[in-house]
């Protein structure tokens, strides 16, 4: 697949359901790829600390909600190119994931979630007996 260049546009969530907080909510950019064993999801969520991150798997919907402290920079803002805001994104995941083995790691503002597939969902080679 073609490589993607760097962009600065933060996509704001278009249909913000029922957010009770003020401020914009952004859709993080993600990479999702699948191998025979697992599904890997990588999301850019700069400015999020581990304790402000919620990953929720409900039925087959995986939701990432990351809170960003909005204090921003000290002093008086004099130039602004981006806004501070939380990140939220949901994904529908087929029920072939082994929910007990999901692992998540947050490093340098990048979240990586590894969702291993359940045994039953892995491709299987059928031996043919002669």
């Amino acid at each position: 697949m073609a490589e993607k260049g760097l962009t600065v546009d933060k996509k704001e969530v278009q249909n913000p359901q029922e957010f009770t907080q003020e401020g914009p909510v952004f859709t993080p950019n993600v990479d999702i790829y699948e191998t025979e064993e697992q599904l890997t999801l990588i999301a850019d969520i700069p400015g999020v600390n581990k304790e402000d991150l919620e990953i929720d798997l409900n039925e087959n919907t995986l939701t990432i909600y990351a809170r960003v402290k909005k204090e921003g920079l000290p002093g008086t803002p004099i130039y602004k190119e981006y806004e501070y805001g939380d990140y939220k994104r949901s994904f529908t995941i087929s029920n072939v994931i082994d929910q007990g083995k999901i692992e998540a790691e947050l490093k340098n503002g990048v979240l990586r979630i590894v969702l291993p597939k359940a045994e039953t969902a892995k491709p299987r080679k059928i031996e043919i007996r002669s």
């Binding site: 490589e3 546009d9 130039y79």
Partner: protein
């Protein structure tokens, strides 16, 4: 190279004046229509700048970028940030469902609105957010003027 002007040191440049006028018009337009969108984006990374009496602060979101891949240079009137964002290649036999995260080289230059003490510039990166603190040079700090009663 994308160039960001906060202020122009002398202001004699005709092209700059045109630019300034246009920016001013855009701002007027935006404020009239109540747009909350941030300033025009000049390139990656997006920058936010603020100041207080002693320092100028620059913020940039650089998720997943290794500290050793970022280079920051300061001279008396400008700040340069450059680097590269690398994304680990996934194995060949994977199937991508989404590929939205970009990679590549970046470079930004900001003209500083006042001289800074280049030796005391500090930079830190936390959770993928870079903060650069540029202390103002003494002559750029606000001076309190005592009023004498006569």
């Amino acid at each position: 190279m994308p160039l960001t002007r906060l202020f122009h040191p002398t202001g004699y440049n005709r092209v700059y004046h045109y630019d300034l006028l246009q920016n001013e018009m855009n701002r007027l337009f935006d404020s009239f229509f109540g747009s909350q969108t941030p300033a025009r984006r000049a390139g990656f990374p997006a920058l936010n700048v603020s100041q207080d009496n002693d320092n100028l602060y620059v913020n940039a979101e650089l998720p997943g970028i290794d500290v050793k891949d970022i280079e920051i240079n300061v001279d008396s009137d400008s700040l340069h940030i450059k680097g590269e964002r690398k994304i680990a290649e996934a194995d060949k036999n994977v199937r991508y469902h989404r590929q939205e995260r970009g990679s590549g080289q970046f470079s930004r230059t900001i003209h500083l609105p006042f001289p800074v003490n280049t030796e005391k510039v500090g930079a830190e990166i936390k959770s993928g957010v870079l903060t650069i603190t540029l202390p103002k040079a003494d002559e750029a700090k606000p001076q309190k003027i005592n009023i004498k009663t006569v």
